[in-house]
């Protein structure tokens, strides 16, 4: 449980995070049509995953911790999924 992560790992992860930041800003400069939002979200999710796995030590944690970490996000998806499904249906006049 008391896993000590190499400093190097932290630096590498950090470098990746900065890279992704640059990427997301760059992507936003271009008009990618409908792809804009998914790309921005994908990058954000990638960043979040890096942080959760390394900075927050989930990669080294017990399965239970992983379950709890995933649980919150999964529940968020339930909420988003159903609300947006209804919004989409109403938008289309169903």
């Amino acid at each position: 449980m008391h896993h000590v992560v190499e400093k190097k790992t932290y630096y590498i992860v950090s470098a990746w995070l900065m890279l992704l930041l640059v990427l997301t800003v760059a992507a936003a400069q271009r008009d990618l049509g409908a792809a804009n939002v998914p790309i921005a979200l994908a990058i954000a999710i990638a960043k979040a995953i890096l942080i959760v796995l390394f900075f927050m030590h989930v990669r080294y944690g017990s399965p239970l911790v992983r379950l709890f970490a995933a649980g919150g996000f999964f529940w968020l998806l339930i909420m988003l999924g159903f609300i947006l499904a209804d919004v989409q249906a109403r938008f289309s006049g169903w």
């Binding site: 649980g71 209804d86 169903w94």
Partner: protein, 551 residues
């Protein structure tokens, strides 16, 4: 402070100072703090019900004016839901028993537990403050844009009260989950846990994952009123249905926060008084989890006629049907537990059986509501009112009272008077049905809810309902009286008056501060009752009750 483990000491008499209560981290003392608080809130909510039931005796608004009536039912709903029923069983019985059932010395975070109580009281005072400052008239559902823009009452205070109380609920749930995972005694495997623990675990999942959503939603309403934010304002293009989605994302699962713990209580009581093993332990255990999880998928059944899309309505309808199945499994298993048992009808058992019957009726009428075409007709009528009072009052309040009676000897070390107990259980059952059964009929006839005046033809049924409510009110006051009486005059209970299984019964009554002398080791599954064991002594006659453990 005296040595807590000296002989004759228990968590109650270890220290009498007022301060020792307000700064206690003992889960049992915190449970008592909660018990006093929620009882007071119940009386406040009940008093409001008495007043508006009086008003509803006649079709004209002659007792109170419209504004007052609207404030009364809002007060009733808010207080009963957020300050009585949601905390009632988890924070009183759950707090008291969960660590003991696990064989632990306390909850994982005792100071957090005390903080929860303070947070809860802060929320409660805010809510009471909103009443004193003139009341709130939005209904407990706070629908926008009425609550955010149009109402000119103290919505902010009340919403903040519920918001703050929400955090107390979250922290309690968090504490329970962590405790269940990390504090089980040696040998206490998951499938040796009493169902009470499973139910509270399932409840806690909802508390932790649902409550934050209502918190943010109410916060947004407050921001909209206070600072002029515009998230729900249709004038700016806001969607009134968004609020309803967010509100029910929590508030539907919250109804299972209100019923799951009561199911846990009933599952402890029924095997004990049937002297029989729980029928289908694994099914009952997993049914709790299934209810908790599925409950997050059905909230849209409150929006069938709100302008939600037809297709979303259908999905939510079918999912609502699914959530009924685990509930059915529980009801059947409880009933089957009586089979070839040795049934005695002491007060806790009367309440538990009352729970099963009334929950069944309330739950089955929930299916009417989940059936789309019927809900179109009965939505926002008294049919809804009857449905949820059958579950919440007929079910949960019965379960709560049953639990209080069952564990009263453990909590206080005293026995309540059995005859009075049975009498009041009977009165409550009769009064309850007289109050709420007519409301089903009223609802199908089309009487809308939240009205202080109604058309004349509804009067007869309303009078019946009000009459029932007064019987019910008396029924609730009797236990209040004799339970307090028993604190002083009740016979001393001894560690295990019901000869029940479960770790909480293996220690003295009232328990010591740290619950157990030595950490217990568990070797058996729960509920190993034996129906052949029919010589169970009646507690009243029990001569060998240990003297001197009570105060």
């Amino acid at each position: 402070m005296t040595n807590p483990s000296a002989p004759g000491r228990n968590y109650l008499n270890v220290d009498y100072r007022f301060r020792s209560w307000l700064w206690t981290t003992d889960h049992k003392r915190i449970a008592i703090l909660y018990m006093i608080s929620v009882t007071l809130f119940f009386l406040v909510g009940g008093a409001a019900a008495v007043l508006f039931r009086l008003e509803l005796m006649t079709p004209r608004g002659d007792l109170v004016i419209a504004e007052t009536f609207n404030k009364l039912f809002t007060l009733h709903g808010v207080v009963m839901v957020f300050f009585f029923l949601i905390p009632a069983i988890p924070t009183v019985l759950g707090n008291f028993l969960l660590p003991m059932m696990l064989g632990a010395r306390d909850l994982a975070f005792p100071r957090l537990n005390l903080a929860s109580w303070y947070i809860f009281m802060t929320g409660g005072l805010l809510a009471i403050g909103s009443i004193i400052a003139g009341g709130v008239d939005t209904g407990w559902t706070f629908y926008t844009p009425y609550s955010s823009t149009y109402s000119n009452t103290n919505v902010m205070l009340a919403a903040l009260g519920a918001f703050v109380a929400g955090f107390s609920s979250i922290l309690t749930g968090l504490n329970f989950i962590v405790t269940t995972h990390t504090m089980r005694a040696p040998g206490m495997t998951w499938f040796r846990l009493p169902i009470f623990v499973w139910s509270h675990y399932a409840t806690s999942i909802i508390m932790v994952l649902g409550t934050p959503v209502i918190a943010i939603t109410l916060l947004l309403v407050a921001l909209e009123r206070g600072l002029g934010f515009g998230i729900f304002d249709p004038k700016l293009g806001g969607d009134p249905i968004l609020f309803q989605h967010l509100f029910w994302f929590y508030s539907h699962p919250a109804v299972y926060i209100m019923v799951l713990p009561a199911m846990g209580v009933v599952t402890e009581i029924v095997p004990c008084f049937a002297r029989n093993r729980l029928f289908g332990y694994t099914f009952v255990a997993f049914a709790s989890l299934a209810i908790a999880v599925i409950s997050f998928f059905v909230w849209g059944h409150h929006l069938f006629v709100s302008g939600q899309s037809i297709y979303a309505g259908m999905i939510f309808s079918v999912l609502s049907m699914l959530v009924a199945v685990p509930s059915a499994v529980k009801v059947f298993n409880w009933t089957a537990t009586l089979y070839r048992g040795s049934v005695s009808l002491d007060t806790p058992m009367l309440y538990a059986l009352g729970f099963i019957g009334l929950f069944t009726l309330g739950g089955l009428t929930g299916l009417f509501l989940a059936t789309l075409a019927i809900d179109v007709h009965v939505h926002d009528t008294y049919f809804i009112i009857a449905h949820f009072h059958y579950i919440m009052v007929g079910g949960t309040v019965m379960g709560y009272l049953g639990g209080i009676h069952f564990w009263w000897p453990k909590i206080t070390g005293r026995i309540y008077p059995e005859w009075w107990g049975r009498l009041s259980a009977g009165i409550i059952f009769i009064g309850f049905n007289l109050t709420f059964f007519p409301q089903f009929v009223l609802g199908y006839l089309g009487m809308p809810r939240r009205v202080h005046e109604y058309v004349d033809e509804f009067q007869v049924l309303n009078v019946m309902s009000s009459a029932g409510a007064s019987i019910l009110g008396v029924g609730y006051l009797i236990p209040l009286a004799y339970l307090i009486w028993s604190l002083r005059y009740g016979p001393v209970a001894g560690p295990n008056p019901w000869r029940a299984t479960g770790l909480e019964w293996q220690t003295q009554s009232p328990p010591t501060t740290f619950n157990f002398e030595t950490t217990p080791v568990v070797t058996e599954p729960p509920y190993h009752y034996d129906p052949g064991d029919f010589q169970m002594e009646r507690i009243e006659q029990s001569p060998g009750a240990v003297q001197g453990t009570a105060r």
